[in-house]
Point group: C2
Chain length 120, copies 2
């Protein structure tokens, strides 16, 4: 399974803004209420999620691939335990994505998608 680990190292964060919100191209169908988790400190992404909810979003989705998946779960736990205890966990989904490495070989990497929603 080295390939899978390796794929993660080849990932670039060039589609990601400073605060973790994706606003440029790279992911299809991206919206403002998606926070992409990368290799920055966890609290950066926690702040991004909290900011989204404070700006009136009903739902925020946290997405991560490869080794960042653990950090995505950390972000979800910190946001729901410390900042918004009333948030509902709408869904947690996992998937596999295929990446093309620099040398042209393909490798699969796991991904997670956690959607949090305000209570109705």
């Amino acid at each position: 399974m080295c390939a899978m680990r390796q794929a993660d190292d080849n990932m670039t964060n060039d589609t990601m803004h400073e605060d973790g919100t994706g606003k440029s191209a790279g992911y299809p169908g991206k919206a403002d209420n998606v926070v992409y988790i990368g290799k920055k400190p966890t609290m950066n992404y926690v702040l991004a999620v909290v900011t989204q909810f404070n700006s009136g979003m009903q739902e925020v989705t946290i997405k991560a691939r490869g080794n960042s998946i653990s950090r995505a779960v950390d972000v979800k736990e910190i946001v729901t335990n410390r900042f918004f205890p009333d948030l509902k966990e709408k869904s947690i989904r996992t998937s596999s994505e295929e990446l093309i490495n620099e040398d042209g070989t393909k490798s699969k990497v796991s991904a997670i998608q956690i959607t949090l929603a305000r209570p109705n």
Copy 2:
């Protein structure tokens, strides 16, 4: 959030068997159909899950804490994509667990619990 990362480094795998199945003390309510993900190669844990299903289990739960969470998702993806495409994802739950470090301080670590089930 250094504390959370640090907690993971302090984790020991002494409650885990070679194949990732937990059969000794440490986790409350543990059963044979639980595979605990540690720092071994991903395929060790994939094999553990596959073995459980082949031995007749209807459900297998994959559990991980801290940095191993990403590996737990890898295991789930490999088992469902490559070995048992018919398996149902019964639940994915995340939680926070409190650990006591060697110096007596407490730190929180995220955990994940993925339950896969045979189709009815």
